[in-house]
């Protein structure tokens, strides 16, 4: 969502970041406390710059994630069991407080968060969030796009999130995340997430999201699991293109994912079953489609990583909702690329893609520099 540069929004933003900065610089109340609390803080900025060429036979809209420059500022503060976390994204296209969460660690590795967070039912976004340096490919799969980038699934929720990692047997683990909070609205045909800086909460409903993952190694990165989400999304301006009498869109998402890390290989496979119910006075239209992707990354010598991704969908072409409101949703796409980690925390990535949307076919070439500082 684009934040208009209005004084009140800026003032609210200044307050949020002052709170963070104040906590970051705060001293312990006494030396005795200092001995046991060990405050920790981490400030990381993920930077990226991109040049691209996209040939399209139909679409005239700028494709997603194509801002030529992006800075994702992440600040994490830890004090004993408390956490304060903020993520602010600044690009040539938008600036937005993406996440702002206050957390408390109930028991070891089980946290309860309050604030605006990324919903845990997205397999990709819970891994990479807005930090482009941490994803191998330049682009994210179409089904995982953010709301303000023509994303079809709500990704930002404002409310409560419980995230727990528990041991299972000697070395395995189980990760459970459950979130409930204010979901998006549909305005001007697109999802509009709840914005902490410029809140418009009227008409919003509670969204539910959940993720259950088995971790073969409790401290490792591999995971296999299931996700589910339920959203009731009010349409505030009759902007469902093919069914303008729609006043509410109900969306249910069920999915399964695999994140598999082994030596030089990383494989991510995800499939979502998305059910849409378009509701209006005296009308209801139900449709569903399947979308998924498979990405494989292979590390090569000298800091190179080769990667490829297949995105595909089933029945999405027949969706009235997608055809009217998301004509640039990628029905299928093939991606191949090469990433070169030039030096620590700096990478250059070349990505070639051939995609097909409801209204066009296109070839995409992207060259990206990404980094994490310090």
């Amino acid at each position: 969502m684009k934040v208009p540069a209005i004084p009140s929004a800026t003032a609210v933003l200044a307050v949020w970041w002052s709170v963070l900065a104040g906590c970051a610089s705060a001293q312990p109340a006494s030396d005795d406390h200092a001995n046991h609390e060990q405050p920790g803080k981490e400030l990381v900025v993920f930077l990226s710059a991109e040049a691209h060429n996209i040939s399209s036979s139909g679409s005239t809209e700028t494709l997603n994630e194509d801002a030529w420059f992006a800075a994702d500022i992440v600040l994490a503060l830890t004090r004993d069991r408390f956490r304060l976390f903020g993520e602010y994204l600044l690009t040539t296209e938008e600036h937005d407080l993406e996440r702002f969460q206050l957390g408390y660690e109930l028991v070891p590795n089980t946290l309860i968060w309050l604030g605006r967070y990324h919903q845990p039912a997205s397999a990709w976004n819970t891994e990479h969030h807005h930090g482009r340096y941490l994803q191998t490919s330049v682009t994210r799969p179409s089904v995982e796009l953010w709301e303000d980038e023509q994303g079809i699934v709500p990704q930002h929720i404002a409310g409560l999130l419980v995230d727990s990692r528990r041991p299972l047997g000697e070395s395995a683990g189980l990760q459970v995340s459950v979130g409930a909070g204010l979901g998006p609205r549909i305005e001007e045909g697109k999802l509009e997430a709840f914005d902490l800086v410029d809140p418009h909460e009227s008409g919003r409903h509670v969204s539910w999201t959940a993720r259950l993952a088995y971790l073969p190694d409790y401290a490792g990165q591999s995971s296999f699991g299931l996700v589910a989400a339920h959203h009731r999304i009010p349409v505030v301006d009759g902007s469902i293109v093919n069914l303008p009498q729609t006043t509410e869109v109900q969306q249910d998402v069920y999915g399964a994912f695999i994140n598999w890390y082994a030596d030089q290989w990383k494989v991510v496979a995800v499939v979502y079953d998305i059910r849409i119910d378009l509701r209006g006075p005296g009308t209801s239209r139900r449709e569903h489609f399947v979308a998924g992707y498979l990405e494989a990354d292979r590390q090569l010598p000298n800091g190179f990583t080769a990667f490829g991704r297949i995105e595909d969908s089933g029945n999405a072409r027949n969706s009235t909702y997608l055809a009217g409101n998301y004509p640039d949703f990628e029905l299928r796409r093939f991606i191949a690329g090469l990433r070169w980690d030039v030096r620590p925390r700096h990478a250059i990535t070349l990505e070639l893609a051939r995609g097909e949307t409801i209204r066009a076919r296109q070839n995409e070439v992207r060259l990206q520099w990404s980094a994490a500082v310090p």
């Binding site: 200092a34 001995n35 046991h36 060990q38 920790g40 803080k41 981490e42 990381v44 993920f46 992440v74 994490a76 503060l77 830890t78 004993d80 069991r81 956490r83 304060l84 976390f85 993520e87 969460q101 957390g103 660690e105 070891p108 590795n109 946290l111 819970t126 891994e127 990479h128 969030h129 930090g131 340096y133 941490l134 995230d163 990692r165 070395s171 409790y218 401290a219 990165q221 980690d341 620590p344 925390r345 994490a372």
Partner: protein, 148 residues
């Protein structure tokens, strides 16, 4: 011929002796404050602690302090304690912050600072070469993490 062999053997012994670092550097010790109630920590717990996960033992929430004093210690840390390459560990720590809002373990680049930090925090866990730490009464050795 015998003289030549003796000379060769002596030369080899001297060369090997010179090539090795100080003998006391052969042991990397797991350390806590002398005031800590902690008496043992398993390899798995050490591994999880330095990967940024919360580890609680006997109601003590432990804090990892990474000693990054020299190149050999760094190599032992990546190979034996966290069992991954430096670049993979770095990405894990970035992901830790991005995914879980956690700060990565504090890194100190000299053992003196590590010993001071351990002395000030009974919940802190770190490591150091035996030669640098064994005579410091402020710290307690839990076990040997690595020996040559």
């Amino acid at each position: 011929m015998k003289r030549l062999l003796y000379a060769f053997a002596a030369g080899l012994a001297i060369w090997l002796g010179l090539a090795r670092p100080a003998g006391a550097e052969d042991r990397l010790l797991l350390l806590v404050s002398a005031e800590s109630q902690l008496t043992a920590l398993s390899s798995l717990e050490v591994h999880r602690l330095f990967l940024g996960l919360t580890v609680v033992v006997n109601d003590q929430r432990l804090h990892a302090l990474r000693n990054d004093s020299d190149e050999l210690m760094r190599r032992v840390f990546f190979q034996n304690i966290v069992s991954m390459s430096e670049s993979v560990y770095d990405r894990r720590m970035l992901a830790l912050t991005l995914q879980q809002g956690r700060a990565a373990p504090t890194v100190l680049n000299n053992t003196r600072a590590v010993l001071d930090a351990l002395a000030a925090d009974p919940d802190a866990v770190s490591f150091g070469w035996a030669v640098d730490v064994e005579r410091d009464p402020r710290v307690k050795v839990l076990r040997v993490l690595w020996r040559r």
